[in-house]
Chain length 497, copies 4
């Protein structure tokens, strides 16, 4: 396997997923537990509930005093790798953390197992492991400096900087070293870490990525989303605050605020697509927020039609909302093949050519002769949208109206989401009418940015001077300067500044 | 691996699926293609679309004149086994058949790879392969006789009888031998078979299991359901008729009726659960039929409530129908983990204990304080229903009303469906009120058998003298005597006769 | 995988082993045990000791009354497949048989797992398994007839005929059926078989292949060679006689002679190469016989030289004999890489090109400037001999004299040995002087056929009217007509008749 | 897998090999090539020839400018892991190094893949990889200091210190950094390293472990032994001198002597056992040296007997020497199973109980009634020797006389050889007569230390003031103080100082 290659940042962007190139991809989910029996099983269940945040690989580290730290990292689903009794027996102890990942900012082409988190380091006072959701926007600069001083990197991941900064810190305790390390790091991060006895969680000052605290018996858990608390029947205590670091152990939970305070800028796309509908964000079910988005969308963009159909499964709550608001009946016009959770490895050509048919089928007898409103969560490249339109017209639909539950996606994300290069984003190069014509549909409408803010609970819409969320993918306004990317020549939306 | 053991039929019934014991399981899907480029890929795609009919294993046989017959049989999903270019290259040729299976009437405990179809036999005039959906009700008697005459069985499958009967036939052509063999066989069968140049399809005289014919370019395909035609963009020609045998080749399609004619008794449960909602049965979308069932259910069993929620995914169309008929809003109160397609292999105990939580999560913030109507397709053992009820009450629902889109399942199926022993069926031992009390819900109502017949299109409901469908699982009236089972002591519903 | 293809017998001859094409290959070893604790482990140890008789694959069948018959068949070495506790636990019982194989007369190209023995059949009175060492010379004709009557073959192996003949027999007991089957079979066979309680062994009337009986505690074992008795510390009782069938059970050992009596024609090449040097044949150590062959060779073909070196490892005992007889010091001039037990799978080209260097290295500092006598057991194609000569000359040897411990191999074997087609045998197309010139050595001498007979104990050499051994590979005189081959056009050495 | 655990050095000693506990184990072989086509294949062939120096795992690193550095590390034999075209294609380039290992000083229990060399580090001026044969005697102290300064270790190997010392060096070029690093390291090392264009080799000042230079076309190779030059047909140029560092590139070979000069103390056990008999050490074939040892042994310890038999395979050359000197005929009284190259993984109990029988068998018919001299290379724990004696007496030998080709092994090695703890060494706790009685043989004699020195070419035997070799395993005189071990409480042979 390749272990080192000079490459530009542009090269490092992973190729889009062959059959899913019309979706953005959350890059990670994190989970940790302390003070619980068989922490590895608790972590595995939590990661299973967070699998939608990263399907490529996962890892778990645990500790007990009889065996020291133990680790397992594997490609593939949690359910396939971290459920059998044999593997779980190799991960003993009452404390553990875990990570699921989609892909990395670091490696070109295939991810290597050494890029799979958690990362582990042995310090003079003992070992520590960390798992990171987000993206470090000054990782290249940090890495260069660390290598010059003698650190040896094992992975191509931006997250490895944190453990090397910790190793070089002169802090006496690991949480102190972690604070020091994270103060040198820019970008978005929700980090879960562990020592032999302590579980540590931390969110960046803007709180771009989610992280929640739960209680399980006498122990504590940290998770990217509340759905991971439900699966283990843990009690949801609260969200970790932007800029907060918590240290949980058998003695309880301590809270620190090691960074300069800043106004929260949570990722609005978590509401639109990334988070699971049964998770709770800001006190409300994500499902209900999405139903609201559908209602707003129906108010802003009504159309006369026979059926409202979701593009499954992510468009479903918004489609139900659209149907409830418009009074047009909801129906499953497109059926998803539930055995298509994962893509094919080096498929034969005739199979690759089937593309979206492997995953979706039109309910032919249902849509024939009908005027169909298709509700989808977003349009990224537009390739899947075109194929769905073709399938539904082939099946005899009379009209096809696309309604999109987010504004046009026109800018890449640098905070932990896998987005195509800007020129591949349909909305970066086309007007709405050009997109409609390109997709070949009867109408195409997006919810407005204000409408989206209303749906997530901002009654007055977006405050352009101090937006409550990070919406860089729609607005091009980046709350943290993507330093490495700007160094490489990326041009931000200066108009918006 | 065990290769032979004396066992009673009762022993041979496979243990219920650990997390899915509240569903009946279709045991097989079949597919065949002739006159197409790269038949193996066409067959693989068809089987992928039929994966819901059997998830345990699959196999494909192809033929071309340069390589002879080729075969591959594997445990697991089609998408994991029959998509890579390397495997597909080992299956050359313009003709092929395939099979997916859930489990067999033959083997106790784990299925062996030698039980995976298609089965192949080399006869003096050339080879033939067959794939069978259904169940042969006189298989034990046939097997005994064949062994006494010197046939060596390789599997524990009832279907292997067919190929041995063909081997011993004195027919000059393979289709003649197949006719002769199938005339000796009792029970339910939809068979797809192939010679070097001919694709053969046949349904039993009652047509219990489905089989459809499609056209793909100049070639022909046979499939259990029309959704398998859609995935390869084939044209749906017609259903194979009960008792019909078709022989398709590059010259076209011939039709024969080798059996004594009988009134059709198609499996009504295909409408309720087995078939995919996007398949077409009897000229109508299965989805629409299920929506109709939901409407009938709402008419027969109304209740005042806040939300109609499906038990995902199989209860969804009936729940939508119930909502449309009742006017009570439809909502996704239970979210399915989409990464839970397959169960765990030897899970650690703490993971096994999570049971249904691994697969389903209640949308906590949504259902809190609400009166919920839960729509499910059927109740088999009732174990999952109990757990769902517990989860939804834990999440704070005010009331829970179960509405079931089929009548009480009180009798085992002997025609190709995996059912528990009769005493494990909740409805075999309890009245409706006892079931309600056992499940601990506010109300529990099933659609009536007449209501179900109306929903599938019989305006006058069920004709008790000549029912249009096989409904033995509800009525105990078996249209073909299950000879081997009766021999073993099974008592049919003689009251009904 | 291919499951059927019309092919000529000539096609069916497996391609020579890439790095071992200068050796004949014994095709099988068989072993059985009854009345012992954990028969599978006993069988596995026996097969491990017989691994030199077949390295490609192996299989074991056992029986106990709690589990019925159990089977495991695998590609690769016994030590890799049949030693771990997990596999062995799947093979319970006090009776079992096993088989190791090199390659088959049946399949072209790669062997399929379904060709790996033992073969198993379920008859009306119970199951039986058989393992066969040898070759059935009328297998094609038998197979054709069996298929016409409705038998379905699962493998391409000639040995499968036996189990089908047994299935069709009307004998009441399995040993009776086996007698009846073996009377229809022509060629060479040492068969080990088992029922639920009986271990059966049988040699063909000429006794071409070896089979011995041993005792282990209260139980009995059958093995191809005595070295397989040593490894389990069993007592060597006697050789099974040509044409004898023994039936061993907890009650003891019965003996039958079901065939017409004939004069023994044991394979003389077992003495030269196939059998292990620590086995006992005809009351004498094979090692001593080979030392004798070396002495005879030195008497017949003396030469003045500095060192006698074996071609390792098979030439070693004859080289020691040559040294003892000639007084020329014995030395290891060629060193064998002991990690080269198995050949490479699809090696890269640069590695394939190294050929014999991967396996052998000349002891450069030792041979430099010396006159070397190289003793090898046989010359088949001569390819390896040429490469060894090149290596030894490159290392600076002054002279190279080849001495071969068998007569020129000029005819293929049809009794269970893998030989190239006749035209590939060096001695079939060249005189001794032509071979010497082709190999480019200073001298090349073979032991005479009479010398070989003297060395194995026939004081008067070979009796041309009634030879004591099968020596068809040297003489072209086939003691059993190879019927299928003659049908295919093979011409025997009629001059010799 | 465990990734960290506090353990004492004593714990870290790997458990003896179940069937080979009577041998010392060389821990590593190294190989490198530059300026050759397809370096990975050249390295793989070299490692295959060095497999006797380490069988547990192996690794290769290569570099070319199109792909950067590439790496593959695997458990098992070179022939199984590094020969297939697919793997070799992942290791492109004209420069590469490789390593085979038996076991490590670092990890308790099973080795982890991250302990497998070569180790790689990316420095600011580019990457470097190293492979190490030997043992660093101050590794624990160095590691402690490096961790305190922020280095993160990935393995438990002592060798990883070198790459971290290089990473922290301020040297401008990688060879300078390597010199600086190796000056801080104590103990025995023969290191092969590579940059993008340079192949570097270095031996410690005493030259304890071997390293040789060869030429292949226009390129250069470094190897532990000359047998690895032979396999690729390279020309043996010379041994690297003790304390020498060579830097080979397309421009030629430079030589440096970065350390204080010292008198050579080459490991005398390389002559006795570790090196392959076809390698050349000090200008002479190792085979001939061992034959000489046998002759010396015969002179020092004659006995009247019928046969001289080696304990295969390592005792063979000395047995031949003993036979030549004594005039007693040489014979193969014990036959080694050539399919037993590797041990069983978790064998079932009945198989484990067979112990040495799996590997060796007595040539029963040959030894019966004879007086046997058994020649072995060394006695470590004595367990195998006892079993061999039992087997040979069981087979009926009249007398057994052990002759050992090395002095009693009474002290552990700390320079790269896996030895049991001192108290497990038979000679550490027993006199020669006690050992004879313990083994139960008629006589037991070892060659004297002076005799061994004479056999390796020191005509006057050992100079006690300035021995020409490291013979610490016999004498307890350690030429480099084993600092970490002394820190842990190990007591050296101070009497000898």
């Amino acid at each position: 396997m390749p272990i080192s290659k000079p490459m530009s940042l542009r090269d490092q962007m992973p190729p889009a997923h062959p059959f899913d190139d019309d979706k953005l991809k959350e890059e990670c989910g994190v989970f940790g537990a302390v003070g619980v029996e068989n922490a590895a099983s608790v972590v595995a269940l939590g990661l299973h509930a967070l699998q939608h945040r990263g399907q490529e690989a996962g890892g778990i580290v645990t500790h007990d005093f009889a065996h020291g730290f133990s680790s397992a990292r594997r490609f593939g689903y949690v359910r396939d790798n971290f459920t059998d009794a044999e593997t779980m027996a190799t991960l003993p102890g009452p404390i553990g953390i875990g990570h699921v990942r989609y892909s990395t900012a670091g490696s070109k082409g295939a991810t290597q197992i050494r890029d799979v988190q958690p990362f582990f380091g042995e310090f003079s006072m003992g070992g520590a492991a960390i798992a990171h959701n987000g993206n470090i926007t000054n990782a290249l600069a940090l890495r260069k400096e660390l290598v010059e001083r003698g650190s040896i990197f094992q992975s191509s991941s931006d997250s490895e900087c944190i453990i090397h900064l910790m190793a070089r810190s002169m802090g006496k305790k690991i949480p102190d070293r972690m604070e020091e390390a994270l103060r040198k790091v820019e970008g978005a991060f929700s980090v879960v870490a562990m020592t032999r006895t302590k579980l540590i969680g931390c969110r960046d000052p803007l709180g771009v990525r989610p992280l929640v605290l739960g209680q399980l018996g006498d122990g504590w858990v940290l998770a990217s989303e509340t759905c991971a608390l439900d699966i283990i029947n843990a009690t949801f205590i609260r969200e970790i605050e932007p800029g907060e670091m918590v240290v949980a152990s058998e003695k309880g939970v301590e809270s620190h605020f090691p960074f300069r305070r800043a106004k929260s800028r949570f990722c609005i796309f978590e509401h639109v697509y990334f988070s699971r509908p049964d998770s709770i964000l800001g006190g409300r079910s994500v499902y209900e927020t999405r139903e609201n988005i559908g209602r707003e969308l129906a108010k802003e963009n009504p159309v006369d039609a026979d059926l409202v159909c979701p593009v499954p499964d992510s468009g479903t709550p918004a489609a139900i909302g659209y149907s409830l608001e418009s009074g047009i009946p909801y129906a499953m016009g497109i059926i998803r093949n539930q055995y298509m959770g994962r893509t094919f490895i080096e498929p034969s050509e005739s199979i690759r050519n089937m593309g979206v048919r492997l995953k979706l089928n039109v309910n032919r007898a249902l849509v024939k002769g009908k005027r169909i409103i298709l509700v989808d969560d977003s349009v990224v490249r537009g390739t899947t949208s075109r194929k769905i339109k073709e399938m539904i017209l082939e099946a005899g639909a009379a009209e096809v109206h696309f309604r999109i539950a987010s504004p046009p996606t026109a800018w890449p994300c640098f905070y932990g989401v896998d987005t195509p290069q800007r020129e591949k984003l349909l909305a970066a190069t086309m007007t709405e009418e050009e997109m409609r014509s390109h997709l070949g549909v009867d109408s195409l409408k997006f919810i407005s940015l204000d409408g989206l803010y209303r749906a997530v609970g901002e009654a007055n819409g977006r405050d352009p001077k101090a937006p409550a969320y990070c919406d860089a993918c729609f607005s091009g306004e980046y709350p943290v300067k993507p330093a490495d990317m700007v160094e490489q020549g990326f041009e931000m939306n200066t108009a918006a500044e």
